[in-house]
């Protein structure tokens, strides 16, 4: 599906993949961004960052069960850890150039520059066995072409929540300042990151996914269609202007949606009935 959407954004591709919940914490993190200078010190910095990350994990009592290095700068760890996820993420992200892409018991976020096939091959995603997923191809408009600016966004510091977004938020800085005052961190200049953190904040106040998404229609300004996924639910919200597309297919055993129908056609070879959700609509499915 994502490869067929390549024309919408060739800059970067991201996947939020969900598998059955494990007892271990799965952490995806990077030790450099694509905008990190590739100077003579680069390889040394990668090694230092990785060693420092491992040291900090050990100091927090997080035991590394497995460690897979997928690129020079991208790692997948499974951890035996029962402490606070926020503390874990903060400790890793305190290391210069390090970023936690996802942290949880069922979510794994993989994102990098290039099209869907490139990223899929780079991270060996064809072997992934999961339950549901969302993805995004990005054409950078208002922030850098880098891994931080790529979607999906993890809803730091809450586990297993991810968001992809099409649109622009016009009250981005207001919400960023508010959320930073509440203790949340931002790794990018991308307005889409606000949505993930915003939803996480609302859910931490006790709202369900649907209620939090409905509230976002009132509190986030701009034009947007976004998808939010948790370990057992998938939601979509469209602003009152309905300026950003989404085509939806609800089958007996699957839900598929994309900005263009041809993405859905890429995985379904027979005639199906698809439709666009209306303006101001929030829809949530649970598995």
């Amino acid at each position: 599906m994502l490869q067929s959407m390549k024309h919408r954004g060739p800059d970067s591709t991201g996947y939020a993949l969900y598998a059955e919940r494990t007892e271990h914490v799965v952490m995806r993190y990077t030790t450099a961004n694509t905008t990190t200078p590739r100077d003579f010190e680069f390889q040394n910095r990668l090694q230092r960052n990785r060693a420092e990350a491992e040291r900090r994990l050990a100091s927090l009592g997080a035991k590394v069960i497995t460690c897979e290095q997928e690129t020079d700068y991208a790692f997948r760890l499974t951890l035996d850890y029962t402490g606070e996820l926020k503390q874990l993420a903060d400790q890793i992200e305190d290391i210069p150039d390090c970023e936690v892409l996802s942290l949880g018991h069922s979510l794994e976020i993989i994102k990098d520059l290039g099209d869907a096939e490139t990223v899929c091959a780079q991270y060996h995603l064809e072997q992934f066995q999961g339950t549901h997923a969302i993805g995004h191809v990005r054409m950078a408009t208002e922030s850098d072409v880098d891994i931080s600016g790529a979607h999906p966004y993890w809803a730091y510091p809450f586990s297993d929540i991810a968001v992809v977004h099409n649109g622009q938020l016009t009250n981005y800085f207001q919400w960023r300042r508010r959320l930073e005052r509440s203790g949340h961190r931002f790794n990018s200049e991308c307005d889409s990151e606000i949505i993930a953190v915003y939803l996480a904040e609302k859910m931490s106040e006790g709202l369900g996914l649907k209620e939090a998404m409905e509230k976002s229609l009132d509190e986030l300004d701009g034009v947007f269609t976004y998808i939010c996924v948790t370990a057992d639910a998938l939601g979509v919200a469209k602003d009152e202007m309905a300026a950003k597309p989404l085509v939806l297919f609800e089958g007996e055993n699957m839900i598929a949606m994309a900005s263009e129908e041809m993405a859905i056609r890429a995985i379904i070879d027979h005639e199906i009935n698809t439709y666009d959700p209306y303006e101001g609509e929030v829809m949530v499915w649970t598995r």
């Binding site: 490869q3 067929s4 390549k6 024309h7 060739p10 800059d11 970067s12 694509t34 590739r38 680069f42 390889q43 690129t71 020079d72 700068y73 990098d112 520059l113 290039g114 099209d115 490139t118 950078a140 072409v145 009152e240 202007m241 309905a242 300026a243 597309p245 085509v247 263009e260 129908e261 041809m262 859905i264 056609r265 005639e271 009935n273 698809t274 439709y275 666009d276 209306y278 303006e279 101001g280």
Partner: protein, 263 residues
């Protein structure tokens, strides 16, 4: 380490994005004035070239396109009277700037279909995305499913008839023509419309600026009945009629300096 950059990774696939030198595939099976071809492995450009070759050079008057696959911009710029059947769905911008053909789409159409349609008929069996029939000037556009937002924005003529509901800002800045909506209408119906008529069978979430209820006449009944009869749509529901209130500034004859004083 290989630093991957976005731009260097652009390799366009086979959907007609960059292929200025595409040739006519000439793969159709032709039977008299009828032709049929499978579009599954063709790009947008190849499909449109094949259509034009059949209609303009081979004298074909009835074409069936199998497996259109929701590709974008199919069937655009057809300027002759002929029959085209798409045996599936179209993506964005389908059947734009057409003048004369009778098009039957057995699936759904994406955003901005039938933009600037001049004449002819387009019947869509499924749903349609937003901006359907934008700036349409003539002809009949029949959607048997539901429509997205901003249907018939800037419509300048013709008829858009849907058996389902429509989204927000339908008929925005409509200038002429008619819209027949059997279902509900989203907020801002007919906002800033200049002229034209919108009939709604269901509920209206809210009217746009200067869109007001209109007086029903026998001509309205005759028009609705005729369209339902022609396209075999059954018995029409009871409709409300909406027109332009003509109260906006563009309908007065005041100079800008006078308007400041009066309004």
């Amino acid at each position: 380490m290989d630093a991957v950059t976005g731009e260097s990774q652009i390799v366009y696939d086979a959907r007609g994005l960059v292929e200025p030198n595409a040739e006519v595939p000439k793969i159709s099976s032709i039977d008299g004035t009828k032709a049929e071809f499978d579009a599954n492995d063709l790009t947008t450009r190849q499909i449109n070239l094949e259509l034009r070759w059949l209609i303009n050079e081979q004298g074909i008057t009835d074409v069936t396109v199998r497996n259109p696959g929701a590709k974008h911009s199919l069937g655009v710029g057809i300027l002759t009277r002929c029959k085209i059947t798409f045996d599936g769905s179209l993506g964005y911008f389908g059947c734009g700037v057409i003048d004369g053909p009778e098009v039957h789409i057995k699936g759904r159409v994406g955003w901005s279909s039938c933009e600037n349609m001049m004449s002819g008929t387009v019947v869509v069996e499924g749903n349609a995305g937003s901006l359907t029939g934008a700036a349409m000037r003539g002809g009949d556009l029949i959607i048997k499913g539901r429509l997205g937002a901003r249907t018939g924005i800037d419509q300048k003529g013709g008829t858009i008839l849907t058996m389902g509901s429509v989204g927000a800002n339908t008929g925005f800045m409509m200038q002429r023509g008619r819209q027949v909506i059997c279902g509900d209408a989203g907020h801002g119906l007919g906002d800033s419309m200049y002229d034209g008529i919108i009939y709604v069978g269901g509920k209206v979430r809210s009217l746009g600026i200067d869109c007001v209820p209109g007086e029903w006449t026998d001509a309205d009944t005759e028009f609705i009945d005729r369209k339902f009869r022609i396209y075999e749509l059954g018995t029409p529901p009871a409709f409300q009629k909406f027109v332009c209130g003509k109260k906006l500034y563009n309908y007065d004859s005041l100079e800008p300096s006078e308007r400041k004083l009066v309004l």
